[in-house]
């Protein structure tokens, strides 16, 4: 097993009847980095995470988390000691109080950080004796996050962590994530919020209909992906979209846009051969990459 990877999957597949919720996924999540998992609703992100944690069974394929096989229940139980997970639901035991669930969680993990617990309790303003069922959704989310961030696990898996949080809390959450990585924690989080992902992610994995479409370092995307817009005096000529480095070609009236994923200047040189009236090269934000990738699929 590769020690560099916190999560590694091989052809991980989950089938529900005729549908492939997750299709032959080969995921690589390196240690000590922030890897973001982007995808539409129903793309298979939560299912993947559940398979990693042994919550949902695997149809075929397999993988390892922190060097331990996810398909083996005994190893999966072991790896969960070193993983902190915040589920999408963020629901907690309604019959417990804030203080009871903290005590409960603390007792099950060796990596508890009492200082972090105290700090977060104060920062989130969580009343220790209050029953969880009477907490607002935002408070519950914060409590769920506290249970994860009061630990120093090897891997932190967050499923839509900022959902239900106000902007100030989101900022605090991102700072916590970043602080955890600075402490050596690997962070793997799924999100819809492209802006957040763009700020803190080192790597981005885009999942659509169960398949991994993009698995790249965010800096590489920033450096390499370019949108080349060509304007012509006459209707533009046809361009072979399967040329290397071109992900997509779109024509609208007398304009053509190309999405170049690598060697943008080589592509631009090729484009010059088409004798455009003007050529414009602009960077591509993650939102655009996501939308283009997913629409095309």
């Amino acid at each position: 097993m590769n020690d560099e990877m916190a999560i590694e999957t091989h052809e991980l597949t989950r089938r529900y009847g005729d549908t492939l919720a997750v299709s032959h996924l080969n995921l690589r999540v390196p240690r000590r980095q922030v890897t973001a998992f982007l995808g539409r609703n129903g793309a298979g992100k939560s299912t993947t995470i559940k398979m990693l944690l042994g919550i949902t069974s695997i149809t075929s394929g397999g993988g390892s988390v922190l060097g331990r096989a996810i398909q083996d229940p005994a190893q999966n139980c072991q790896l969960r000691r070193d993983v902190a997970y915040v589920a999408e639901d963020k629901r907690l035991y309604s019959y417990m109080t804030v203080e009871q669930i903290i005590r409960f969680t603390r007792s099950l993990y060796q990596d508890w950080q009492p200082a972090a617990e105290a700090r977060l309790l104060k920062q989130f303003r969580l009343p220790p004796r209050q029953k969880i069922k009477s907490l607002s959704k935002g408070m519950r989310t914060k409590l769920a996050l506290l249970l994860a961030f009061s630990r120093r696990p090897e891997l932190l898996i967050l499923d839509e962590p900022s959902e239900g949080l106000d902007p100030v809390s989101i900022e605090e959450l991102l700072q916590e994530i970043v602080g955890a990585v600075a402490n050596g924690v690997t962070v793997f989080f799924s999100s819809h919020q492209i802006a957040e992902v763009e700020r803190i992610a080192d790597r981005v994995c885009i999942l659509d209909q169960g398949a991994l479409l993009v698995d790249a370092c965010l800096d590489d995307i920033r450096r390499e992906y370019r949108r080349i817009t060509l304007s012509f005096y006459a209707p533009p000529p046809k361009v072979n979209p399967s040329l290397p480095g071109i992900k997509q070609v779109r024509i609208s009236g007398r304009q053509m846009t190309l999405l170049a994923t690598e060697n943008a200047n080589a592509v631009a040189e090729l484009a010059l051969d088409l004798h455009p009236a003007s050529i414009e090269v602009t960077p591509v934000g993650l939102r655009e990459v996501f939308l283009e990738t997913v629409r095309e699929n």
């Binding site: 919550i55 139980c77 639901d89």
Partner: protein
């Protein structure tokens, strides 16, 4: 701390059951005190028998309610992700839940009987320890089958209301159906001592049915194991 969680989860149900069952005992003692001696021994025994039938019924319903919950229920309320991501095996989760439930059911079975015993002795009523032991053992030992059935239903059926309804339904159906066709196998009659009742003295007589108990405990154990297997194979 899994025990702590299981306790917190069930303590309201436990407390409510204990209070209700002890109240029934209170009623028994109250009625017993109004009886006239010297004929009261048979009347007393009859009263005891009828009371324990109520006690048994309430105990069974309480045990069924106690058996509800668990990971499958947690799926409905959304906390199954949290529980299943804990570094504990599903076997351990389910075993702790079952054990705590068994202990609680035994407690709210035995405590009311001990209360009857204590108060009756104080009031010098002709309560025989052997009879109490007989009733209590049948109730808890035989009744565990109902608890086990409830646990199994709660792991198979999703949804709190559906599983409760089905479990209670099963209790009644088996009691009624078995009575018409397989009277000898009617668990209700076993648990309330009906098979061992002497209709003249209204006392439970004969040897204690060890074999019957063993069979009950065996069936309960099988159902617990079945619930474990269901949990192991389930996706959440």
């Amino acid at each position: 701390m899994l025990w702590y969680k299981a306790w917190l989860e069930t303590r309201s149900r436990f407390a409510a059951s204990l209070v209700t069952l002890t109240l029934v005992c209170g009623l028994f003692v109250h009625h017993a005190l109004t009886m006239i001696r010297p004929t009261w021994t048979v009347d007393f025994n009859r009263l005891l028998y009828i009371t324990q039938e109520f006690l048994a019924l309430l105990w069974i319903l309480s045990a069924v309610l106690l058996g509800m919950g668990g990971i499958v229920y947690e799926k409905a309320v959304g906390t199954s992700g949290l529980t299943l991501s804990l570094p504990v095996s599903r076997v351990r989760l389910q075993s702790v839940r079952i054990t705590v439930g068994v202990l609680e059911a035994a407690a709210f079975g035995l405590i009311p009987w001990l209360t009857i015993l204590a108060v009756s002795w104080r009031a010098r009523m002709p309560l025989v320890l052997a009879q109490v032991a007989f009733y209590a053992a049948l109730l808890v030992g035989g009744g565990l089958v109902y608890y086990a059935m409830a646990v199994l239903v709660s792991t198979v059926v999703e949804g709190a209301y559906s599983s409760t309804a089905i479990a209670i339904g099963l209790v009644f159906v088996t009691t009624v159906a078995l009575d018409s066709w397989f009277r000898q196998l009617n668990l209700w009659r076993f648990v309330t001592g009906n098979f061992y009742l002497d209709v003249h003295t209204f006392l439970l007589t004969g040897h204690f049915p060890w074999l019957g108990m063993l069979v009950c405990l065996g069936v309960a154990a099988l159902m617990f194991v079945a619930s474990l297997l269901v949990i192991l194979r389930r996706d959440f």
